[in-house]
Symmetry: C2
Subunit: 656 residues, 2 copies
């Protein structure tokens, strides 16, 4: 193991977000999503799938009667809610909400078993099955979310009750798994605890947590295969028939690619299997690589990064194109209509990219964060914060969503889900947004995202206040005011997004002579004085984006993008049969801010060709090509689609 | 009921086919398919799914031991084989084959139960379940195929053994189902016996068979629903748990649309559910309508015909676009890659169209027969007659066939299937091809298909020999020699296909003055003399075919057709990434006969635009539009695709 210099992200705690675009979302999360999700966890939403999550905790604590309700990983929803609350309290103290969280934490404490075990499903239903089926049981997954919540709540509030619960649980897990004699050589069936244990290690300094995370990463995919071994144990103990009954032979899971345990992680070349599991694992690998300096792990991360982002990612930052198994497919297989692109997978991609940036200040990681943030993550939530997409398609024909093979694609967002992973995941992403904006080395600060914010950090022996003002993503100009407490030399690196041509960066209105470009950043090194202003101008013409020719679904098609925002056509603006619209190669495309549309968005307008309205009795096939006429069209930001009732939607438009 | 004048098809027995295109297929069926299928039925094909069908008969007859093997409808494969044998013997007497058939028929007789019941599955496995589950058990389906085989074998050979078996079985079924007190008011879960009983009625003159067929047609979909009633009976008898175990609640079948029993047949407006069930039922409805003159049934047939052929049919004559349930979808939902278009469904469409022609001499029925015959039916068989497609896609990316949602689409034909309905169905279609060519009224003969053949019929009191010579579908000229035994006036109607413009018909080289056009036929009424020759010239330029704009999958795309033959691009001719090819609107398209390609086919060649070969490391998305260059391309007949190894295929080509 060698050590390696890494960057440090500025914590959400130390970054105050005040941004015209994002503050709306953050207020929604605070005012709508967190209270709504609390009601959901308590089964108080009418016409929505019940959750049972809080009641499960009460039953496990012996304070209520009844059976466990929900998915085997239902506990994780409570943890994700607590994590979002922690981030929200950091920017907006709220004693009532904090009391609610404290009470919930106490309930978690009462539901925890004397040995540290905490999982309501097995405590209530089958204590004898604890730790018998890592592949399917999600015990470490739920623990991971609890640990993340605990670290966040501790960081925000300084309170240790949840952290203690998490440590006790982690200690228990550490007594079960490991390479030592008498422990199981197992690892998670749904990765998540790997990255959580590194967070716990960083919060507590306890090296056993890092060691356990590393063990999980290193052990994965080794032969003899643990998931086979534990199944053999169950067969011995509960009878061979039990495997069939429990779903052991499920088509997806019996294939180790589903949970990325087909080979050791360092040998993985292509992203395969369940996309959320994959990116959570890659994030954990990056964490372990950052903390331990393990180069082979870093190289595996980079290889997988290239595969995901250069072969398997939608233009919206969606990943996992395969509904069956919610999984990655093969390279360039990115169908727009039978897509999966789970909201959680794009969120996990942000988590992973954020960790890659820590290892390697390369703009391509921040570019992907930006792509996901402005497109495929927030598309998962309605503009009122009250309904959610699990699947984020790039082309929707509502009628086709009735086909059994497209039933997973919903044309309208739903209130809540039986498997409610996405809504609380979005809440914690948005509430912790501050942490994605800046990171720092000894004498350099990076600006990764153009999100209006303020922060303060020690840099080259000085305390520096930074203030970023912007109207991103609608306008390309951002101003960064640099306020060192006394003048001094250090570097400020601002990201020039991959989509941008002709960026200009000035300091106090002057063109730069001394700036250098490095891996997507313009680095300004100078003697900074209080009140210095860096102005970044990123030209934002409407761009036509073409897909790699290996992407079969997009042959002859074009997507529209302006700045980081990907656009789509909606039926609400353009009528039915969006597939008929063809965009001439030379058509002028105009961007226009519409303050009253969809909460205020910049739209793209122009003229496209479209066939005449078809005769309702026209035959199925004929020799006559229909006449076409130029018609005006309007494209709206993809993230804002499906906020005006059910209708068709299309990202990739035919180009003529 | 009113009676109605109908046309009579000339039987396969009375039409001798001698056609450069079809004789090859007919020889294949005789020399390859029938012997191969006999081996398959006897489990003698290595590396192919076993059948067990003959062994099941032996076990049911008490001559072998063991358990039933295969699908619940395994018996039907033997019946379809016998039916194909009957047709084959009509054109090519073969004492050895006939002896094999006779022996098989004797075995069927020995497997038949004393009360007439004949179904090896229930005889072997669960005699107590006879007639307890019409929805799923396929007892009447297997009986229908047996009856069809029996009628064909009787017509060809004059032998009555199989006909007696069939009558005994039909009598037994008639004792079980009907409106009389004590009988069940049930009907088939998989339609087929309806049309078979009309054939049996026409062969034997026994009115009970017609009455039973009509009962099945009339009773279908009435309330209280029979499938619910019979399930309640089973629940009472075998316990309510038995319904779950037997699959009663299966997603598709619990929905009555799956088997078209959602409403009475006369109220059905759209084709829904399992496509083969649907078209077999429509064929049976047309039969009952033809024999009884029932107008409301005829009108339902016409309405459903319009829906299927004007809203739900692929350009290849494929129907049933939905893999899940092998079913029709909604109007215009015709995806090319997740298609189903089962071979059997196109064959069933031919059966139905053939019966519609009997009711109404309208060329649109014969057009659809032609479309299916030259495209979506024979595409189900390899050119060597040894492997088969169940699913007939219009666009194939072999790698994508590994996706779980496209796994039903195979890029190469398979040797045999566990559910082997399609291969023997193709065999009986091709072996009985003669019956689709001509039909007659009192003083008119219709030529529906341009298939080289000879026949003889009584017409207006004369005996008339007809001889049709053609090189269809590669050349548009056909010559019909009309030889009445003495001169006389009658009409000859020749079909002008829907795809054809500028057809010319001459008699003895003279343009016609006295011909009239009627519903797709040119009717020549004159005094005919021996040796008169009708020459039909159907210009066959290469045509660009456009889909109705509601067909989302084909927006901006064009299919190539010449005569009745639909073309496709294959990787073998055009390399990978067929989606990249774009056909300029003005590109010249040349047809060329290639005697050494795919057994001799006319190809279509021209120049298309194609992007430069992509940089293997090109990014997923970029602003640069790739340069395009003109490249030659070659399209081959769709029916002949996938005969040169695994590769991409594409019917609908982007047009520029």
């Amino acid at each position: 193991m060698e050590t390696r210099k890494t960057l440090t992200s500025l914590s959400y705690k130390n970054v105050s977000v005040n941004d015209p675009f994002w503050s709306k979302y953050r207020n929604l999360v605070r005012e709508e999503v967190i209270p709504y999700q609390w009601d959901a966890l308590n089964d108080r939403i009418e016409d929505a799938a019940p959750s049972g999550a809080i009641r499960n905790l009460r039953i496990a604590a012996g304070e209520d009667e009844g059976d466990f309700y929900g998915r085997i990983f239902q506990d994780s929803d409570v943890a994700k809610w607590l994590e979002a609350v922690a981030y929200s309290l950091a920017s907006h103290p709220d004693p009532v909400l904090e009391r609610l969280a404290d009470d919930t934490i106490k309930l978690l404490g009462r539901a925890q078993q004397p040995d540290g075990y905490l999982n309501t499903h097995f405590t209530i239903k089958s204590p004898d099955r604890r730790w018998t089926n890592e592949r399917d049981h999600h015990e470490t997954y739920c623990a991971g979310h609890l640990i993340e919540a605990a670290v966040a709540y501790y960081e925000t509030t300084g309170k240790t009750r949840l952290l203690d619960i998490a440590c006790k649980l982690a200690d228990h897990i550490d007594s079960v798994f490991g390479e030592e004699e008498g422990k199981r050589r197992g690892y998670p069936g749904h990765q998540e605890i790997e990255l959580a244990l590194v967070r716990l290690y960083e919060a507590t300094g306890e090296p056993r947590y890092l060691k356990l995370s590393r063990f999980f990463v290193d052990e994965r995919g080794r032969e003899p295969h643990y998931f086979k071994w534990e199944a053999d144990q169950r067969a011995k103990r509960f009878g061979p028939e039990s495997l069939k009954a429990e779903g052991y032979y499920s088509l997806y899971k019996i294939n180790y690619e589903y949970n990325q345990s087909h080979v050791p992680v360092r040998e993985q070349e292509h992203a395969v299997g369940h996309a959320v599991r994959a990116v959570y694992m890659y994030a954990g690998m990056a964490d372990v690589a950052a903390v331990t300096g393990d180069r082979s792990l870093l190289e595996a991360c980079k290889r997988l990064w290239d595969n995901v982002t250069r072969r398997q990612m939608y233009v919206t930052g969606g990943i996992g194109s395969n509904h069956n198994g919610e999984a990655f497919s093969f390279d360039y297989d990115l169908p727009n209509d039978t897509v999966y692109a789970e909201t959680c997978a794009s969120i996990g991609l942000v988590f992973w990219a954020h960790r890659m940036l820590r290892l390697d200040p390369d703009g391509r990681y921040a570019d992907v964060i930006e792509r996901a943030l402005y497109n495929g993550t927030i598309s998962g939530m309605s503009l009122d914060g009250r309904s959610f997409f699990y699947v984020n398609p790039l082309e929707v024909w509502p009628k086709a969503c009735e086909r059994p093979d497209k039933r997973h694609v919903k044309p309208v967002r739903q209130k809540w889900f039986g498997c409610a992973c996405c809504p609380p995941n979005l809440a914690r992403l948005i509430a912790s947004l501050g942490q994605y904006i800046y990171s720092r080395g000894d004498d350099i600060v990076y600006v990764h995202q153009y999100i209006g914010s303020e922060t303060s950090l020690a840099l080259a022996g000085r305390q520096v206040r930074l203030s970023l003002e912007t109207n991103y993503p609608w306008e390309g100009r951002s101003s960064l005011t640099v306020n060192p407490d006394r003048p001094g030399a250090f570097s400020v690196a601002v990201r020039i997004p991959g989509w941008c041509e002709g960026a200009s960066v000035r300091v106090n209105g002057q063109e730069l002579a001394e700036a250098r470009s490095e891996k997507g950043y313009l680095i300004v090194t100078r003697e900074w004085r209080a009140g210095d202003v860096v102005t970044i101008d990123l030209p934002m013409p409407v761009e036509r984006v073409y897909a790699n020719p290996n992407v079969r679904a997009n042959a002859g098609r074009v997507a529209l993008q302006r700045g980081p925002v990907v656009y789509c056509l909606e039926q609400a603006d353009n009528g039915e049969r969006l597939q008929e619209l063809a965009l001439p190669g030379e058509a002028e495309l105009v961007a226009r801010y519409e303050p009253n549309l969809l909460g205020g968005v910049t739209v793209v307008a122009g003229e496209a060709l479209r066939g005449d309205a078809p005769d309702p009795d026209a035959p199925l096939y004929g020799k006559k090509k229909r006449a076409e006429a130029a018609v005006p069209f309007r494209a709206v930001p993809y993230f804002a689609w499906a906020n005006r009732g059910e209708g068709e939607m299309l990202v990739w438009i035919r180009e003529r």
